[in-house]
């Protein structure tokens, strides 16, 4: 079932087009991530979905109900902001009570002093809901503190609590982890994913961090220049990017891109290296060959189709070592992932040889679009 549907969303700020015809369907209970570099329009899209920003054209519907003209308060969504946007004068408990009070109590019941006396039961049940949510998030001991007395991680939990305490149709999160330190961010990644699994509610998550998108989402939409370039499961996006910009943005270290050319037979080549698979469309000319660092391996000198280069930098991450190798007379740099055992034998400045793992290279045309490659049917002998 479709929980959220955005169709033909466009947004202009003056003459600047920020969103350019976005179509996106989010299914019920899905964790969808909008990922892209800053300025790609992902936050604007989320704010349009929340209703905090009006689209220039296009329609938004939530749970089958058209809400383009509906104000944010009536869309039944909860949002976690990058700055958390907790009310600084209220305690954590009062912060978490606010959405319940504003929605469930009448104006008279919300009056200070008189309200709690007159509607003791309603206030009691709200307090109970807040306590339950706080227990899930392990912030029940912080309920009496004010946001100013909390650490970044605790504030983030309080903001999550304020969103969770009500049962919204979907959670919207605008870079909620970007203000945390690195270790906590990685910890919260798994915690958020677990929370999503236990709540079974739709999450729409905006981030510029491709690692967050890859680790948490069911599906991710890579956005650039106001368009969704590719939408799919994280492993699909990583291993099968349809656009050179997607390939470059997703994956750390970045994918290696080498200039190459396509010959008449459809073989892409770069220097001595020639891909066995052939392009299907019969295009001839300049292409870009993309190879991820893990698709390269060190080999002996003179192995067929190998590349040779000088090691200019070595990054030791413990479990892996990334070698930065200058190839093609220093015109290009490749990053190669090697195991610590292999890597320890290689020193800076040394010349080394490596080959690609067959069937992994990606070829992108001049327009940046992925070119389909297929096993050559005629030359059976040369198995790729």
């Amino acid at each position: 079932m479709t929980a959220i549907s955005l169709s033909a969303i466009e947004k202009n700020f003056g003459a600047t087009r920020v969103l350019d015809g976005i179509d996106l369907d989010v299914s019920d209970g899905e964790f969808l991530t909008l990922v892209g570099p800053s300025g790609c329009g992902k936050s604007t899209l989320l704010r349009i979905l929340a209703g905090l920003e009006a689209p220039s054209s296009g329609r938004v519907s939530i749970g089958g109900r058209e809400v383009t003209e509906v104000r944010p308060a009536d869309r039944n969504l909860a949002m976690v902001f990058q700055s958390y946007a907790l009310y600084p004068h209220l305690t954590v408990a009062q912060n978490m009570m606010t959405p319940l009070k504003l929605r469930d109590l009448t104006f008279a019941q919300r009056l200070p002093f008189l309200g709690p006396l007159a509607a003791r039961e309603a206030h009691g049940s709200i307090l109970e809901q807040v306590r339950d949510t706080a227990r899930i998030l392990k912030i029940d001991h912080l309920l009496d503190r004010k946001p100013g007395q909390l650490s970044g991680g605790q504030r983030q939990r309080a903001a999550l609590g304020r969103a969770m305490v009500r049962k919204p149709a979907a959670f919207l999160m605008d870079e909620p982890l970007s203000n945390l330190d690195a270790a906590l961010r990685i910890h919260m990644r798994s915690e958020l994913a677990e929370l999503h699994r236990s709540l079974k509610t739709t999450f729409v998550y905006v981030t510029h961090d491709q690692a967050e998108a890859l680790t948490m989402s069911d599906r991710m939409a890579v956005m650039m220049d106001g368009r969704i370039l590719q939408l799919g499961a994280p492993d699909e996006i990583y291993s099968n990017p349809q656009d050179i910009r997607v390939a470059e943005f997703i994956g750390a270290p970045k994918i290696n891109l080498l200039p190459g050319s396509l010959d008449k037979a459809g073989h892409a080549r770069c220097g001595d290296m020639e891909l066995a698979r052939v392009a299907e469309d019969g295009i001839v000319g300049c292409v870009t060959i993309g190879l991820r660092p893990e698709h390269l391996a060190v080999c002996d000198k003179g192995a067929p189709g190998s590349l040779t280069g000088r090691v200019v930098h070595k990054e030791n991450l413990g479990a892996d070592i990334y070698l930065h190798v200058s190839v093609l007379e220093g015109a290009h740099r490749l990053v190669v992932r090697v195991s610590p055992v292999e890597g320890s034998a290689i020193s800076l400045g040394q010349t080394c040889h490596f080959r690609r793992l067959h069937g992994q290279a990606m070829v992108f045309g001049k327009d940046g679009k992925r070119l389909g490659l297929a096993q050559p049917s005629t030359e059976v002998a040369e198995v790729a």
Binding site: A50, Y87, T98
Partner: protein, 306 residues
């Protein structure tokens, strides 16, 4: 370890200046308030608490406190409320915001003594524009309002010279003159309210403007409000120019506008009774100190967020 004396060189100049130009005069005033000193007299007689006794028993000073508190408790709430209202309205308009800001701020920039003369003409019972305008309304639907009909029958009030109206008229001019300043302070406070809090409030279901005001604007303006209220209190305790301009001889009709600052001036300067003038000054200082302490307490207790 030998104690260095360098710290005296750092704090010394400030201490000396503060002592010379602030503390010493206060101490002298406090000392004078126990005497019957007059300028020009070679010596002074020690009279103990006589001066203070006069302040708290004589009817003149009762009128002084009455006028002062009437003025303060009208001007402070109204100028703070109107300042906040004007700031919120200006903040919400997209156009003409600067235009309105200028209009409301003009009375603050104008010299109050000059404005007092203008008001004196405007409120003149026979040639003043205020009563002339009110008379134009006679015979229209406004007469259904009892008070207005009464004014049409018997003549409109002599705003500045009727003892039932004088202090309120002076207070009105105080509000008119003062709220523009509060508005500017509130406008500055409003710019520091994070936009995201309003978005969060909207997502939390704050549908009405009142909800947003209660949940975000008013609490976030807390520090501004404390400052604005304190400043307004001190400024309205200090009111002098209008009173001096309207009633150079003795504090209005039956001393109904005999505010503290004017009393100090009249006693100490006009009548050369330095002792009693100093005593009123000390009482005045007490009020201001009290307000400042409350302000500090509020700032530290209630509105300190981070």
């Amino acid at each position: 370890m030998a104690a260095s004396r360098a710290h005296w060189w750092f704090v010394g100049p400030a201490l000396i200046l503060m002592g010379l130009i602030l503390l010493l005069p206060i101490l002298i005033a406090a000392a004078l308030s126990f005497t019957s000193y007059s300028l020009g007299n070679p010596g002074a007689e020690f009279v103990g608490l006589d001066n203070y006794e006069k302040i708290f028993t004589r009817s003149t000073y009762e009128k002084m406190f009455g006028a002062t508190f009437r003025y303060v408790f009208v001007v402070v709430p109204l100028s703070v409320g109107l300042g906040l209202g004007a700031a919120l309205l200006i903040n919400s308009t997209k156009r003409f915001g600067d235009f309105y800001k200028t209009i409301y701020f003009l009375p603050v920039m104008a010299a109050l003594i000059a404005m007092a003369i203008v008001w004196e003409f405007a409120l003149h019972p026979t040639i003043g524009i205020v009563n002339a305008t009110l008379e134009h309304g006679c015979g229209s639907f406004l007469e259904t309002w009892g008070l207005y009909a009464h004014g049409c029958d018997r003549g409109f009030p002599l705003w500045l010279t009727d003892r039932d109206y004088a202090i309120w008229t002076v207070a009105f001019i105080g509000v008119w003159q003062g709220f523009g300043f509060n508005m500017v302070l509130y406008l500055a406070g409003l710019t520091s309210v994070p936009r995201e809090l309003y978005h969060a409030a909207e997502m939390d279901g704050a549908r009405t403007a009142w909800d947003r005001f209660r949940l975000v604007t008013w609490p976030m303006l807390g520090p501004t409000t404390v400052f604005v209220v304190t400043i307004s209190f001190i400024r309205s305790f200090q009111v002098f120019d209008t009173v001096e301009a309207f009633y150079p001889q003795g504090g209005g009709p039956s001393k109904s506008v005999y505010v503290m600052m004017f009393a100090i001036y009249e006693k100490a300067i006009q009548q050369n009774l330095m002792g009693i003038g100093a005593a009123i000054t000390v009482v005045f200082l007490g009020f201001v100190m009290f307000l400042t302490v409350i302000q500090r307490w509020l700032v530290e207790r209630r509105v300190h967020y981070s």
